[in-house]
Symmetry: C2
C-alpha cells in the first residue's frame, strides 16, 4: 500500500503537507492543496486508520456486542445506534457472541485491542467479574438490556418487571389462573427481573406462584422448546404461558406444533420483545414490546456523552413496555 510518504514524494511536498491536505487543515496554499489532491485522487490513496489512531489515541469507532444477531430485537437496536453514530461520523463495529461467554470475552478483548472509543454491551455474563478482566477499565461503557452483577456502568434497559405485570394482568383478565413462565438465561438480570415481575404480579392478583410453573430457559430456541414441554408434562399444566423473550416463544411454538397443539386453542402464549418482521407477516403473538430503536439511540447517546467526558455519575434509562395484543391468547 502506498503511504503518505509516497504521496508526498509524488507531489513534491512533505508528509506534513499531505497530512494537512487530507485532514483539511489550514495553512496550505491553494495551489499546493490542489496539486496534492490531484495525486490523492489519481492514486486512490486511503490513509491507514490504524497508524492514525496510534498517534491520535482515538479511533472514532464505537463497538456493539450483542448475544444474538439473528434476534430482531438486537438488530433493530443496532440500527438505532448506527444512526446516532453516523451523525457524529463515527463508525460502528458489531460483534456477535451467540450468547456464549467465551465468545464474548474474545470479542471484547479484540475490540479493546483495537482501542474502540466506546463499547455498548448486551452481555451474556451473569457477573461483572466474568468479563471485567477483558475490559479496559477506562472505556466508556454502556450496558444494554442486561446488567451483569457488580458491573457499574451506564445502563439502558426496559422495565422488565412492569412488562411482566402487563402480561400477567392481561392473561389474568382473560381468566387464566394457571400461568406458566419460561424463564430467560439463568443469572441474566433481564431474565431475573422478568421472573420477579411475574411472581409479583401473580401475588398482586392473589395467586400463589408455584415453582413447577416456572421452567428454566436460556433466551434461545431450545430453551423455549424444553420449557414448554416441561410445563405441558405437568399433572396440571398451565392454560397460558409467558416466554421470557421472543426467541423462546418461537421455540415453544415449534414444540407445540410438533405436538399438534393449537395456540391459542389449547394454550395461550405471550412473550417479551416483539418480532419485527415476523409480526408483519402474521400478527400472531401477543407481546410486551420495547421501543427498540429508541433504546439503541439512547445507548449511543450515553456512550457519546461519556466519551465527551460529560457527567461522571452512573445513569440508568428505563424504557416502558407496551402490550401489543394480537391473537395468541384466548379467554378461558
Amino acid at each position: 500500500m502506498a503511504s503518505i510518504y509516497d504521496i508526498a514524494k509524488m507531489a513534491g511536498v512533505s508528509v506534513a503537507t499531505v497530512s494537512r491536505v487530507i485532514n483539511g487543515e489550514k495553512y496550505v496554499a491553494p495551489e499546493t492543496r490542489e496539486k496534492v489532491q490531484k495525486i490523492l485522487r489519481e492514486t486512490g490513496f486511503i490513509p491507514n486508520a490504524n497508524a492514525k489512531s496510534l498517534t491520535k489515541k482515538k479511533t472514532n469507532t464505537m463497538a456493539v456486542v450483542v448475544p444474538d444477531l439473528t434476534n430482531p430485537f438486537f438488530t433493530e437496536i443496532i440500527r438505532g445506534i448506527e444512526q446516532q453514530a453516523a451523525q457524529r461520523k463515527m463508525a460502528v463495529i458489531i460483534a456477535n457472541t451467540d450468547e456464549d461467554l467465551e465468545h464474548e470475552r474474545l470479542a471484547i478483548r479484540s475490540l479493546m485491542g483495537r482501542r474502540v472509543d466506546a463499547l455498548i454491551l448486551a452481555s451474556a455474563a451473569r457477573a461483572g467479574k466474568e468479563i471485567r478482566s477483558s475490559l479496559r477499565d477506562d472505556i466508556p461503557l454502556v450496558l444494554l438490556d442486561r446488567k451483569p452483577n457488580g458491573l457499574e456502568a451506564d445502563l439502558v434497559r426496559s422495565d422488565d418487571r412492569g412488562g411482566a405485570e402487563i402480561l400477567v394482568d392481561y392473561l389474568f383478565a382473560l381468566g387464566h389462573r394457571r400461568i406458566g413462565f419460561i424463564s430467560g438465561k439463568a443469572g441474566i438480570s433481564t431474565a431475573k427481573n422478568r421472573l420477579e415481575g411475574y411472581v409479583a404480579a401473580l401475588r398482586g392478583h392473589g395467586l400463589e406462584p408455584e415453582q413447577e410453573l416456572m421452567a428454566p430457559g436460556d433466551f434461545q430456541r431450545t430453551g423455549g422448546r424444553e420449557g414448554i414441554l416441561k410445563l405441558l408434562a405437568l399433572a396440571q399444566p398451565p392454560t397460558a404461558v409467558i416466554a421470557a423473550n421472543n426467541i423462546e416463544a418461537i421455540g415453544a411454538l415449534e414444540a407445540l406444533r410438533e405436538k399438534k397443539l393449537d395456540v391459542p386453542g389449547d394454550l395461550s402464549l405471550v412473550c417479551f420483545d416483539d418480532l419485527e418482521l415476523a409480526s408483519q407477516v402474521y400478527p400472531f403473538l401477543t407481546v410486551a414490546a420495547q421501543p427498540v430503536k429508541t433504546m439503541g439511540a439512547v445507548a449511543a447517546q450515553l456512550a457519546l456523552e461519556r466519551l465527551a467526558g460529560q457527567s461522571s455519575q452512573r445513569r440508568e434509562v428505563v424504557m416502558r413496555m407496551t402490550l401489543l395484543e394480537r391473537r395468541s391468547c384466548r379467554r378461558v
Copy 2:
C-alpha cells in the same frame, strides 16, 4: 493506556521479551516468562492491535458488508462467515448499509482504512465503478449474493434463474396463468436474474410475459407495498405474485392486509429467500430458499483462500434453490 514499554520496565526486561511472551514465542526462559506473565495479568494489559497491524501488515480481520442487517437472510449468512473465521482465529467486522450506495462507500472506505485483510460484500451498487474507487484494488474480495456490473471478483450466489423457474413452475402447476412479479432493486444482478428467470419460465410454459405484470421494487418493504398495489390496480390483476425477496413479500403482505385481501384466498404469494424465525412462528409463505449458512461459510472460505494467495483465477459458486411449500398459495 499502558504500553509494552511500561510492562517491560515493570518486569525489568526489554520490550522484545515482553513481545515474545505475549505472542508465545520460543526463546524465553520459563522464569522470565512467568515473571512477565504475572505483570501482564496484574495490569490487565491488552496490546494495541493497531500498532501491531502496522508492523505485521495484516489485521487478522475480515469484513462483511451487507445491505440490510434486519434481513434474516443476511444475518444467517453472517453467522456462517463468523464460524469459519473463528476457526482461523480471525475477527469479523460487520457493516450495514441500509441498501444505500453512499453508506456503502463510506463503510468500505472505513474498512479499507482499517486495512482489513479481506472483504465479503453484498453490494448495493449496480456497477463496479460506483464503488471501485473506495476499494483497495489488491484486497481479497468476495462478492455475495450480488454482482455489480464489471466488478471482477470471486462470487457466491444462488441460482436465481433456477429459483424463479421453480416458483413459476409451482404456480403454473396450481393453475395460475396470470403471474405477477415484484422486482428487486433495479440494476442489482440478483434482481435482474430473478426477473429474467421469471420471464424465461413463463415462456417455457407458453405464456407471454406482460410488462404490466412486472412491478418495480427495491428489496425493501416499501417496494413490496407499492409493487403489490400496482399489480392489484391492473384492469386484469394477477392471481399469483412472486416477490423478489422475503422483505418485499412482507411489505406486500402488509398492504394486502390493509386492503382486507386474503392470502391465499384472494391472491397467491410466494417469494425468494426464507424468513428463518418468522417461518417458525407461522409456516406461511411458500418460498424459494437458499442454503444460507453454507453460503456464508463458502464466502469466508473463498476469502481465506484468496488471502492465502492460492488460486488466482476468479471463482463463482452457485447454490441451488429449494422450494419450501407452505400455505400462501391456492389452486385455481
